[in-house]
Amino acid sequence: MTQRKVALFVTCLVDMMRPRIGFAAIRALEAAGCDVVVPEGQTCCGQPALNSGDTNHAIALARQTIVALEPYEAVVVPSGSCGGTIRCHYPELFEHDPIWLPRAQAVAAKTWEIMAYLDEQCGWKPEGVQVDAKATYHDSCSGLRELGVKAQPRRLLKPIAGLELTPLAGEETCCGFGGTFCVKYPAISNAIVGEKADAIEATGADLLLAGDLGCLMNMAGKLNRQGSKVRAFHAIELIAGMGDGPAIGEEA
């Protein structure tokens, strides 16, 4: 069986803030039989520029990302919103560009959110992983609505021994992160994440899981400010058997 050659798009936030998520993604992909490459030319997908209306810079970063990712069979991203940017918005950015549009479409068509890829494309499940904890899961908006990531993370978390998944009231409600929104309109963002933190606390879970580091930092940062004991992880960390390490905001 030939190994699938998969490019990992790390995302700028994982690169800077929580490299463990990138390594967890590699570990899970390798366990699923993929040959993982981290293309050199990647930085940020351009989402902050795109969502701020700065189309020219969004296009410049999209071109750079397309060039870095197009040689590979598949592109896997440990973030629903960065994955959504590449998959849904790159083709929109080059709508009127006959040269770049097919390239953007080709990369878009082979770009996957990490958990969707492992579940749907590899048909893989974690084996021999144990995490004795009660966890709750927040569905990050872009992954959910742009990429249809909903059942996949739950299917991948299910085989983890000792892990009890308890539903989060309003699990599909935005956490108030919204990229630059959270610093452009901090008071509104705070009101939204405050309610989210209360809902998380109300589950009685030990762990908060999600698929997007931006949302996780927002929720974990609010939980910590409120003195909560809930620990936050990207779901892929648990799935890859790295749930025994430090949670977001814990010293290694």
Binding site: A49, D54, L61, S142, G249, A252
Partner: protein, 471 residues
């Protein structure tokens, strides 16, 4: 501060005031929370809601693409039924037509059935300026009139008020207010107050939920029957309606009605759904002697050309705002326009200008929930992003943001420089943290005022990966 336009501060000030108002939060949550829960039940019970949404979007797209054809058909049929159709390009033209019609009817008072188009064109103000008395007959609009406020929601204009606040208002303003603190007693008090005024009006003014091209009928939906009571007894009925309200035929209107009521309140149908075709005919026992229909453009044809055609699908159900995390926190008044919430954030820049309202498309997390619940599949986040692009192109975004994003993009398009920069940034950030968290972070006060920032790892992913893989 030349960078931050005054309007931005105004939106933020309104939002801050709303966030500090805990009673507002209770009021918004009661109504929107109930609507959200009821809609979910209604949608689940609907045979194939997604297919119905697709069909509704297709109906509206077809009509919007052939607006001239259907409007002319509507005019011909409405005229044949005895109504008079008037055309208004702008809000002012529409108000002038309505005022002239009222004056011709020698109207001292008009009974108005709730209409957002009326709000959009400033009709309450125009009537006041012309010295014509106005009775708002919708219960919530009556509350708004008593309180001298503006609607904060397109379906529940008084959603920002709790029933306790409404009770106090009625006690202060009604001639024979309720004594018992029950909803029924309060409704009775409003009924006592409104009935005589309604029945004494010279002109009835309504909007239209639908204009039906092949019959020339207009349709209103209410839950209180106030439209019927304010439009049938007076001698003259004036309709003001946006030109996008047109549908080809009754079956199309019925399809839209099924989606409208469910999306708005979770009900299968409103209590009253009435079709009005022309004025009183010979032999009719009641009805107005004159019916005038004022068809209002007010930027709508321009929207079609400016990439906002999809917004003309909107049937004003309010589901987008009921499900919007931002609206749920700040309510409708903070938006500052006629229409609040996601649909308002798309429409207000059309109506009031982007410079006045650039905050509205920006104050959105782009979570996509509004699009998910929209009964006519309007891609609201895409349209909001379109306004952000325009705002950026026209230089309306704050200078600090432009400079920051520009610098970041300049570095991010140079991967080697970017690696050095992120490596340094990570080390600098780590100096500011203790026990895994950063409590205050320069240039990121918006974040750390309200939440902690996790301390980054000692090395970036790229640095660690290169070391581990020996590249």
């Amino acid at each position: 501060m030349s960078g931050a336009p005054a309007e931005a501060t105004r939106f933020k000030a309104r939002a801050d005031a709303a966030l500090a108002d805990r009673i507002l939060k209770v009021a918004v949550e009661r109504t929107a929370g109930t609507a959200e829960a009821k809609r979910a039940v209604a949608v689940d019970a609907f045979p194939d809601f997604q297919a119905a949404r697709t069909r509704a979007a297709a109906i509206k797209d077809h009509v919007v693409a052939h607006l001239g054809h259907y409007l002319e058909q509507f005019e011909a049929n409405a005229t044949a039924a005895g109504a008079k159709v008037h055309w208004a390009r702008t809000a002012d033209e529409a108000c002038d037509i309505v005022i002239a019609l009222c004056k011709a009817a020698k109207a001292k008072s008009v009974a108005r059935s709730k209409s957002m188009l009326g709000e959009e064109i400033g009709l309450p103000h125009a009537l006041a300026e012309a010295g014509i008395g106005r009775v708002e007959t919708d219960l919530a609009e009556h509350i708004i009139q008593l309180a001298d406020e503006r609607p904060s929601h397109i379906i529940w204009p008084a959603m920002h008020k709790t029933r306790e606040q409404v009770s106090a208002l009625f006690k202060a303003k009604h001639r024979l207010p309720h004594e018992e603190e029950t909803i029924a007693a309060m409704a009775e008090s409003a009924r006592r107050e409104l009935r005589t005024q309604m029945l004494g009006a010279d002109v009835g003014i309504s909007g239209a939920n639908f204009l039906i091209a092949d019959s020339g009928a207009i349709c209103t939906v209410t839950n209180e029957g106030n439209a019927e009571l304010s439009l049938v007894p007076p001698r003259v009925h004036i309709v003001t309606a946006g030109i996008e309200k047109i549908v080809p035929s009754m079956p199309h209107a019925v399809h839209m009605l099924r989606l409208l009521a469910r999306s708005a309140t979770g009900a299968a149908l409103t209590q009253y759904t009435t079709f009005y075709t022309g004025p009183k005919r010979p032999g009719d026992r009641d009805g107005p002697e004159e019916m005038h229909i004022v068809l209002v453009d007010n930027g709508r044809t321009r929207m079609r050309e400016d990439g906002l055609a999809e917004m003309l699908r909107c049937i004003r159900c309010g589901a987008c705002m009921n499900h919007c995390v931002v609206f749920r926190q700040i309510g409708g008044h903070a938006y500052g326009g006629t229409y609040p919430g996601p649909m308002g954030a798309v429409l207000t820049p059309v109506l009031d200008g982007l410079k006045q309202s650039r905050d509205l498309p920006n104050a959105c997390t782009m979570n996509g929930k509004c699009q998910e619940v929209c009964p006519v599949r309007i891609p609201l986040p895409t349209l909001l992003r379109g306004w952000r692009e325009k705002s950026w192109r026209e230089g309306l975004e704050p200078q600090s943001l432009r400079a920051g994003l520009g610098l970041w993009a300049w570095v991010a398009t140079r991967p080697r420089l970017y690696r050095m920069g992120t490596g340094m940034a990570v080390r600098a950030m780590r100096l500011l943290g203790s026990k895994g968290w950063i409590r205050t972070l320069p240039l990121a006060g918006g974040w750390t005022t309200y939440r902690d920032m996790p301390k980054p790892a000692a090395q970036t992913f790229m640095d660690q990966y290169r070391k581990e893989r020996g590249r």
